[in-house]
Symmetry: C2
């Protein structure tokens, strides 16, 4: 694309660095910003800049936070005996949105993936061990991706923590609500039959006990 | 969605104001920015801010420009006898990308649409009349959308400029390259038959003479 303005060209180039944004979409965004009031654009760039510069990570669970300890870790209403281990921040947002979980979290910052050069040292495993060693935790809920890497990570963590009297669980795998049985992959289907539930459990959706 | 950070929440809200960006996509963008270096994010916000604050519009053709008069109007190599009348800046970028047009442009800033409250006063028509009155222009090429509003605008402009010895043309309508004949709408098809071309015209793609 040929632009008659270096300013537009720069803005389009910067926008198209974002995931899933090509040149044409970037131009649409830029021309939209151009139509917005200057003050509104300042609000936009200001919010992004403040976010990147001021964001902090919770020193306990590594969740994003505006303070040293995040709102979830600091909340007196949350169950401190449960820690849900997740891969990244997006998973916390997804689980929080269900409003069905009232424990704490621990963000690993990834999963074990030797091919990508991600070993135990790259993940927040040491701090998880410290939290477990502190003694208040009774259950670790592994909410990692149902992939080989995810399962490997669960297995690795379970071994590392095998010394402590801890209940380690994983989130249930199965056919999703609204999912068509015939299109489910064999492993999921096999597992959902093997781990079948009595009907009353199936019907009620309630906070994790 | 529930965020544990006001900074993230603000950034996601700002992002989702852009066209075609929902909350989930906005979050993906924000988390991507979070992974980028601070300097890179500054480059991103800086480019957008500079674009919005420093952008100017060409005083002659209303194209976006970094200077008072845009590069196209200022270029000695362009044919000053032709003006291509377009709706907006995006159209100029599209036509320039074909590298087949060497004349000047005039951005109307929209097309006549009484239902949306856009009358002749809202468009850059006065300045077009001034450019025509200056006398160097020999041909006006109307490159507006093939809609009722576009045709109305062409008709209106032609009437306004009927006093001057000016050739007024519109871009050709027809079946697009690679378009399937059977799926073309009746009006386009009818027009492309009525305005059929001798074969040698059809084969060569060359700069507008």
């Amino acid at each position: 694309m040929i632009f008659s303005s270096k300013l537009i060209e720069d803005a389009v180039r910067e926008f198209s660095r974002l995931p899933g944004i090509g040149k044409k979409t970037a131009l649409r965004m830029v021309l939209h910003l151009l139509k917005m009031e200057k003050g509104e654009v300042d609000g936009f760039t200001g919010a992004l800049s403040a976010m990147r510069h001021q964001i902090r990570f919770c020193t306990t669970c590594h969740n994003i936070s505006d303070t040293d300890v995040c709102g979830i870790c600091a909340s007196p209403g949350r169950n401190k005996a449960q820690i849900c281990v997740v891969e990244n921040i997006r998973d916390i947002i997804a689980i929080e949105s269900t409003q069905q979980y009232n424990g704490l979290y621990h963000v690993l910052g990834g999963i074990l993936s030797p091919l990508d050069g991600i070993g135990p040292e790259q993940l927040h495993i040491g701090s998880l061990q410290e939290r477990v060693a502190a003694g208040t935790v009774e259950e670790l809920i592994m909410a990692l991706s149902p992939t080989i890497e995810g399962d490997t990570t669960v297995y690795y963590l379970a071994r590392q923590l095998s010394g402590s009297p801890l209940k380690i669980t994983t989130i249930a795998r199965g056919i999703s609500f609204g999912g068509e049985l015939e299109y489910a992959d064999e492993m999921t289907l096999a597992r959902s039959i093997a781990k079948r539930l009595p009907i009353d459990n199936y019907v009620s959706v309630r906070p994790n006990p």
